[in-house]
Subunit: 259 residues, 2 copies
DNA sequence: CGGACATTTGACAAGCTTCAAGAGAAGTGG
DNA sequence: CCACTTCTCTTGAAGCTTGTCAAATGTCCG
């Protein structure tokens, strides 16, 4: 049942200073005092297995996490069961912020793989803003960044056709994984790939397509030699073509905050 | 050319205390000290005419505004011109926050009607977080709230059909306008309506539909007696039916922050 | 009155969804 | 260890929703 992705095989260390995420170079540096605060702000760590619900769509629990390892996703469903995946969550991302301010606009969060989490103190967010404004600024930054992902995805669902949507998703996720240092090269040093634990139903639900059409579109791109997706690993075989199809070009990677 | 919506006919007053938005009851109260800070944070006011670009999609200017009167929208376009409206902006909403943190993920902002704005000091946002953490918290709140709108819209574009999309849009915008106190009742006291300055192209671009299909869908809902949209005013004639179609039900209105 | 723009309608084409069914992989229990 | 179930991926066929093309109407404004 549980798919261990070995993204960062372990559970978060007791000391934030030893955090493997902070060593990737993908995140902004924080001052020692702030790091110390984050460590006290963190109430505990937790592990959840693949497929489990981290936040229930109907009854949110008000908890705030950082995803330390594994994949998850945010979603909303209509009452007849149609589901839309809003965005995928990768290591380093803050989970549950929207709930703090929930206007009733609810969403659920589900683990794709086994995940480990840093769980923050309930109701501690205000303390964070008050005592460490720079961290408050970072939280806003993270929130705005996530909104940017949803913006992109809305453009995709609203205005791209099926082929463009799939190309977009492959590029987008590959880039995010790459910047986390999760790209791996095999023995002969030729073939770079990333772990890719989502199934076609996840892809369909993210892109606003049916499962069948998603499958056929993936198949087409594969036959064109643009990508390969086997054994839970994704390889991009023609990045330029994918970028052109998706009308999505790489942006210089920039460090982002991490709580 | 310019459509004056008379939402709040005037330009923002010199004193934030006299702000007509704050008197609507739609926004959270702020302490006098914070209000004073907001007043100093505001560098100027500005007016722009309908159709003008407030923030250019390609070259953002880093400015931060609050929309005081009128309608605007955020959008992204593909290189071949396909446009997606991400969300509509109504009085009281903060504009330009994402730019502060822009990861390259750009979007433009365009005025639908004549608008008036409170323009904040460039680079003053950090001061706000540092000296008034509660306002920083509010900014995050506003950001999360806007993300909630985009989330809803993504569910709409990804998983609702044309009829459901249109019903959703009508309900959603009506509710937002209503909570701002912008609903008006005509002479005989029977007919409530709101100003509705967007055209069918805006609706199509927001919902991810073609112009023609949007027209046909609107027509169908109108013939069913669910709504009426004439002379730039929207009346909902069968709210229950629209809610059912859209699978969208009212949430208790909650005060939100205002900068 | 002419020109620009928004709305409306019909006809046709295309893209995507739904239905149906089979193949392969993986886990379960007798 | 093998039958059995379950889940994911795959493919074909048919139908419906939505997009595209084209053109007419109406309105506003100079």
């Amino acid at each position: 049942m549980s798919k261990d992705t070995a993204l960062f095989a372990t559970v978060p260390p007791a000391q934030c200073q030893a955090c493997r995420l902070r060593q990737t170079g993908a995140f902004t540096a924080v001052k020692p005092k702030e790091l110390a605060f984050i460590e006290t702000f963190r109430a505990s760590t937790a592990s959840k297995s693949a497929g489990s619900t981290l936040i229930h769509e109907q009854k949110p629990n008000g908890k705030l996490f950082t995803l330390y390892s594994g994949w998850a996703f945010r979603y909303k469903t209509l009452s007849d069961g149609r589901r839309q995946i809003l965005n995928f969550l990768l290591p380093g991302e803050l989970i549950g912020l929207q709930q703090e301010f929930a206007d009733g606009a609810m969403h659920g969060i589900e683990a794709v793989t086994d995940v480990s989490l840093c769980v923050f103190k309930r109701d501690g967010l205000w303390d964070l803003f008050r005592h460490h404004p720079s961290l408050g600024y970072d939280v806003t930054w993270m929130s705005a960044r996530e909104e940017g992902f949803v913006d992109d995805n809305l453009l995709t669902a609203g205005r791209r056709n099926a082929t463009e949507r799939v190309a977009m998703l492959l590029m987008h996720l590959y880039r995010r994984l790459e910047r986390l240092g999760l790209e791996r090269t095999d023995a002969d040093g030729l073939d770079a790939s990333v772990e890719f634990p989502i199934n076609q139903q996840h892809i369909a639900d993210n892109l606003g397509l049916s499962l069948v059409h998603t499958n056929k579109t993936l198949r087409r791109l594969h036959k064109l030699g643009l990508h390969d997706l086997t054994d839970g690993r994704l390889r991009l075989l023609n990045t330029k073509a994918l970028e052109r199809i998706a009308d999505y070009y790489d942006t210089p990677l920039k460090r982002v905050p991490l709580l």
